[in-house]
């Protein structure tokens, strides 16, 4: 593979494109509501109408509006149809020649689409995720080619200058992480892509892996070149079979095309990628547990330092980034660090994908610039609640995050602002709640999740989460007193301060943030004490800020 060949493939792909295209989402969301059948019928309808030379019915990645799935769009024109069934196929095909259809039309200019700014998902919904040619025609692997024309340290400097921060949740500066691995003495190094997305209600990374698998691989290859690694692993949870299938196909295609494997772009750079499939443990999203799992060990975290950048997979320097982080890299290489740094806020650059779920009208995936307010995302892109009830709170960051009350919805989305109000950016789950949702029950749900998913290694998380869940249950069932509430708060601080890894350290967040903003709901559940109690004596404060 060389640059000319890349151009040739892209050119051939563009030439082969038919004048009109009917695109049908074939990713998990729409697939679950029958899009595979719809695509089959669309293809049949094109054939039956003798339009095969002018119209192509193709499967594409997720256009984002999952709540309207299966979603089909026609091009040119850009008409979008939702809740499409195979019965609609004929009608949709006929619209290309002036016909009509009774399929539900979706306004392609509504805020849900118009207000997005797509970098990571730029090609998603337009290209066929199962064909490398389709990706190359959309400038795919041009970023890798450009990277290989530079010195590794230039790339690290570039990524640092872009201001990109880790999209897995903690927001660690990506360039700094790369620099650390790059500075480790030469020798065996690894690159790992963390695709173990496990937060309830989060499916950003699933979509990126399903819909832009080559983009993830390209980002990994650029990273490998920059830090001096020759072997990569994509760690994907077993619950994402389609992502695994498409990544596997993408690795195969990319290796065959010479953009992975040996002598990439006819340089000495070599980079192989393998997939490792998780066995269903949430904690394996924690990097040290993930590394243990890749090594075939029990997926439990270990104390850091040493950080994986110094001593990771098989004790070698290891760069581990999240799916979305890697998928952002090719665009930074193509368009430059300054371009990327010009998007977003002072401390949070670029865009972020969110999966909007819960009581929101437009459920699905949105990519917005950092600094967009929660209100814009929930009310404009999301369209408010489905049945018009008042939005009560938005939960971000999954079981590690917090519930943000409606009156703070004007908070801009960036790492620092969300942290200040007791939540976190997290990986991008955004659950909208309305006035029928009870916050103590929400907190209990997340605590049950954490207790189930605790690996069992350290005492505070293993037992603390179980006791917290018990206290929350007692509260929700109206059996708790003020004394129990004090125990609950005290235990939250304890688990947060003493747990070994991020899972335990952040497990109390949903409780603390709902206590902070919805204390009244907890108070209302309390029962009077049957007997007076001596005053509480403890060094642990009962504050929840």
């Amino acid at each position: 593979m060389n640059h000319d060949e890349l151009e040739r493939i892209a050119g051939a792909e563009r030439t082969a494109a038919k004048p009109a295209e009917i695109r049908c989402c074939t990713s998990s969301g729409c697939r679950a509501s029958g899009s595979a059948d719809v695509l089959k019928q669309l293809k049949a309808a094109v054939q039956a109408k003798g339009l095969s030379d002018r119209v192509a019915a193709v499967g594409v990645g997720c256009p984002g509006l999952c709540s309207a799935g299966p979603v089909v769009s026609t091009h040119p024109g850009g008409a979008v149809f939702g809740k499409v069934t195979s019965g609609h196929a004929d009608g949709i095909v006929s619209t290309l020649s002036g016909g009509s259809t009774d399929a539900v039309r979706i306004d392609p200019n509504q805020p849900f689409f118009a207000k997005q700014f797509r970098i990571v998902r730029a090609t998603v919904g337009q290209i066929d995720p199962e064909r490398i040619e389709s990706y190359i025609a959309a400038d795919g692997y041009a970023g890798l080619y450009q990277a290989l024309q530079q010195r590794p340290d230039e790339i690290v400097a570039n990524v640092t200058a872009s201001g990109l921060r880790g999209r897995g949740g903690a927001g660690y500066p990506t360039g700094l992480k790369w620099a650390t691995v790059a500075k480790m003495p030469p020798g065996q190094k690894y690159v790992i892509c963390n695709g173990d997305e496990g937060d309830p209600g989060a499916f950003m990374d699933r979509s990126v892996m399903e819909d832009a698998p080559h983009q993830v691989l390209e980002g990994m290859a650029i990273a490998a070149y920059a830090v001096g690694a020759n072997q990569g692993y994509v760690y994907v949870r077993a619950e994402y079979p389609l992502a695994i299938e498409r990544l596997q196909a993408a690795i195969h295609q990319a290796t065959k095309a010479g953009v992975l494997g040996g002598n990439i772009f006819q340089t000495p750079f070599e980079f192989k990628v393998e997939i490792r499939i998780g066995a269903g443990a949430f904690v394996c999203g924690e990097e040290t547990a993930l590394i243990a799992s890749v090594q075939g060990l029990r997926g439990t975290p270990r104390p850091r330092p040493p950080y994986p950048a110094e001593s990771g997979l098989w004790d070698r320097p290891t760069l581990i980034n999240n799916v979305e982080t890697f998928a952002t890299i090719p665009a930074i290489l193509r368009n430059g660090a300054n371009w990327f740094a010009g998007i977003g806020t002072a401390t949070s650059k670029g865009t972020k994908i969110f999966s909007l779920t819960g009581k929101v009208k437009n459920a699905g995936l949105v990519e917005v610039p950092m600094g967009t307010t929660l209100r814009e995302v929930v009310e404009q892109l999301g369209g408010g609640t489905a049945d018009g009830r008042a939005v009560k709170a938005v939960q971000t960051g999954g079981p590690s995050g917090g519930c943000i009350p409606a009156d703070l919805l004007d908070t801009p989305i960036d790492y620092e602002s969300l942290g200040r109000i007791g939540s976190i950016m997290g990986s991008g789950g955004m659950i909208v709640m309305d006035d029928t949702d009870r916050m103590p029950e929400v907190a209990r749900f997340f605590m049950e999740f954490c207790a189930d998913e605790s690996c069992g290694k350290c005492v505070p998380c293993r037992v603390g989460t179980v006791q917290l869940h018990g206290l929350l249950t007692k509260l929700v069932e109206k059996r708790a007193t003020r004394h129990d509430l004090d125990l609950l708060i005290e235990l939250c601080h304890f688990v947060k301060d003493t747990s070994l890894c991020g899972l335990g350290q952040s497990a109390p967040n949903p409780v603390l943030s709902t206590l902070r903003y919805f204390a009244g709901e907890y108070e209302a559940l309390l029962q009077p004490e049957e007997f007076a109690r001596p005053p509480r004596r403890s060094a642990i404060p009962l504050t929840v800020l």
Partner: protein, 238 residues
């Protein structure tokens, strides 16, 4: 050999570079409570009892895996740390079925001693009272899961000192439990050498010699550390 000096509980302490805070404190006669630490095997940093406050670090640090550094200021006895340590013990007591009065290790149990030492005179959380089995299939030894605190000292001892790796952990969360080989009864394990080191390593009465009754199971934990030192330094006599 490089040496660093640091301050632990207002006391100036010197340590070899690379020593843990725990090792430095012990050498200086400052006691930091531990449960999952065992001389001679690797650290798990799982019990969290040895958490200390290190000036300039936002989070509490496990002394067993925190390297000493020049000028470091460490506090091992703050009100909050004392409270948190008590809470760790309370949680451990609620998790298993620890009935000191009828335990083989009564009087020789680290969990029991620490509860007394750290002032845990009752447990404020409800006891979980799990239904856990007892495995008496081994000819000489037995494991009572009711008394297991999942410190994994047996796992690490078996792996790192005996080299058998008979023990490991299965399940997760509070359902985690110690298993022999692939989960078969201990007596059917093909890797167990019946060396009994795990029994000595166990801080509670979970692993014991069969035939021991209440308070009869004494343990000699120092032997394990001595064995490691002897192997490393080729010094078999003291």
């Amino acid at each position: 050999m490089a040496v660093v000096t640091l301050t632990i509980d207002d006391k100036p302490v010197s340590a070899r570079a690379g020593d843990s805070v725990l090792a430095a404190a012990r050498e200086a006669g400052i006691r930091i409570p531990t449960l999952c630490h065992l001389d001679g095997v690797s650290e798990a940093a799982a019990c969290r009892l040895c958490l200390v406050q290190v000036e300039g670090r936002g989070r509490l640090q496990a002394a067993c895996v925190t390297e000493t550094a020049e000028g470091m200021i460490v506090r091992t006895q703050t009100d909050t740390l004392r409270e948190y340590r008590r809470m760790i013990l309370e949680l451990l007591f609620t998790e298993g079925n620890h009935v000191c009065a009828v335990c083989v290790a009564n009087g020789n149990c680290e969990l029991q001693s620490l509860a007394a030492e750290l002032g845990m005179d009752h447990v404020r959380y409800p006891y979980l009272n799990p239904a856990r089995p007892v495995d008496v299939t081994h000819k000489q030894y037995a494991i009572d899961h009711n008394r297991c605190i999942l410190c994994t000292r047996c796992v690490r001892t078996c792996d790192e000192i005996e080299g058998a790796h008979t023990w490991d952990v299965a399940g997760r969360g509070t359902l985690s439990h110690i298993v022999a080989d692939m989960g078969q009864p201990w007596g059917e394990s093909v890797t167990c050498t019946s060396c009994g080191k795990c029994v000595q390593a166990c801080p509670t009465g979970a692993l014991f010699r069969q035939g021991s009754t209440v308070a009869e199971m004494t343990k000699d934990r120092e032997k394990l550390g001595d064995l490691v030192t002897a192997r490393r330094d080729k010094k078999w006599t003291v």
